[in-house]
Symmetry: C2
Subunit: 311 residues, 2 copies
């Protein structure tokens, strides 16, 4: 994927996304000993960066494809992102979700105009359900993270950040399925001035960290983390980009995630998901190496039930 594709993607999705604000905090800067710029994708439409990739993926379909709709399986932010993007573009979105998913997530999808398709809570069931919709309706399957158009879309948050702060030394993102970090690394490469990309990943779901070490895609045997957006699996579209363009992936404990989340809430005064705090946790962990650096952080999302907080 080249620079022009990122530029075209950004122009294409601009009418459907917010150029989200960038916040700073003197107190957090003092904690790290560096200058941090928080790109607040929690303020994005539907509350997460996923809106960017979903909008781009749908817009790249042919008119005939759009007529038959799109389908994905997700119980997270991509379900809402695809629903809202599709609605904005006049396209049907079928969302396959396990019947065990929280009612609030099912309602959110329906609220954004998605067509909810419930299935059993296992990988095979959701793949079968998706396949059936593709066959019956001719819908196009869009993967939440392992898709070139999705990766390009997710990269536009980092592009916007670099437009405001062109001389960042680092950009830091959480690592889940790999779409955000791959897209961000491409933007850092093409639009930064020697800007390096760092990932934060929970020890409990460290498939990307281990994949970088071994040189092949590793899987997680369990997904016991509070960072529920990061339980997803690295893919074969984003992994090569991560191999080529990501400097390092830093693993963090569950305690470090909760502690960083509290810093963001109390110091930056914003509501973010546990997944978003993983990036700051990674920075706090390696702050000795970051003295006086200019660092961008993507706050990935803010969809959280404030009645169920870890503090």
């Amino acid at each position: 994927m080249d620079k022009q594709q990122l530029i075209d993607c950004h122009e294409r999705i601009k009418p459907f996304i917010h150029n989200t604000p960038v916040l700073t905090s003197r107190l957090i800067d003092e904690m790290i000993g560096a200058n941090l710029f928080f790109k607040c994708e929690n303020f994005q439409r539907m509350g997460a960066f996923k809106m960017r990739g979903a909008a781009n993926a749908i817009m790249q379909l042919s008119n005939e494809q759009k007529e038959h709709g799109v389908v994905t399986h997700s119980s997270g932010n991509f379900a809402q992102a695809l629903s809202l993007s599709a609605k904005s573009l006049g396209v049907k979105a079928y969302i396959v979700m396990p019947d065990s998913a929280p009612q609030v997530k099912k309602d959110a999808v329906k609220g954004y105009g998605g067509i909810l398709v419930e299935c059993e809570s296992n990988l095979n069931a959701r793949e079968q359900a998706s396949k059936k919709i593709v066959q019956e309706h001719g819908a196009t399957f869009i993967h939440p993270s392992n898709d070139d158009q999705v990766i390009l879309g997710q990269g536009t948050a980092c592009k916007e950040l670099l437009e405001l702060q062109p001389d960042l030394d680092y950009v830091v993102t959480p690592v889940g399925g790999g779409g955000l970090i791959a897209g961000s690394a491409l933007s850092a490469h093409y639009f930064g001035n020697n800007c390096k990309t760092i990932g934060g990943e929970p020890f409990e779901v460290d498939d990307a960290y281990r994949s970088l070490k071994s040189g092949k895609i590793e899987t997680n045997s369990s997904t016991n983390t509070i960072a529920d957006g990061l339980k997803t699996q690295l893919g074969d579209r984003n992994f090569p980009i991560i191999q080529k363009h990501v400097e390092e992936i830093v693993r963090v404990t569950e305690e470090e995630i909760v502690s960083a989340m509290r810093v963001i809430w109390e110091r930056l005064k914003i509501v973010c998901e546990p997944s978003s705090a993983v990036a700051l946790a990674a920075l706090l962990k390696k702050k000795e190496e970051l003295e006086n650096k200019k660092i961008g952080i993507i706050i990935s999302g803010g969809n959280v039930d404030v009645g169920k907080l870890p503090f």
Copy 2:
């Protein structure tokens, strides 16, 4: 206080404050049936609008007065605001606080460079302690809300909001000591285009509501509200301004405050104090009268212990 005083005040304090961002939410707009613009003073330095009035009050002192420092009694945001403003201006700040105040608030004052003076937890003790500092050190007493220079400073948040959104129909603020609503009402009067000012006040501390009804300053016999920033008493400097320029004060229940606070946290994705939610609660209460109006809301502050939330 005239228009030029507000303009001069704003220019004076600009180097010491943030021009805070204004956020919007389609979902909240749909809930109210109007267009809302949230002026996020939770992102202000030290986390609340109080920074504005404190900075202005200190800057208006003579050099001789500045040499002897300033004193206030507050266990809330004004304590931190006066400490940080004074530090930024090279002035000593004595902060009288009850010894029963939470350690986190005492630490915050010290962290911002204030000189903490503890006293017993009653009005007489704190007034005596303040008087003693005035006598011994020659410090100037600055009231957290009942002071012309403080009122002018607090009004600059609404002035900034009107610079972005000149045709607001309403501006809404919480009502505590009265500094914010009086300053906002002045700005709405001088810089708005027929912009009316509405206050939100908890039923539990409805001194301003009752004062407007009776035409004289009323007091609260108890202060049993979650909106801890609003327990303070209306004063003789801000009450005449409120009488002249405030359209209405809307009272809200504790349940309505918590419910509005949850909307702000979950929909707007920001951390705000219960006091800030009182303004949105007031709007939700009278939404029938506000259809299709453009409304500014001052989110007054974000200093809250996220480990002690009402939801």
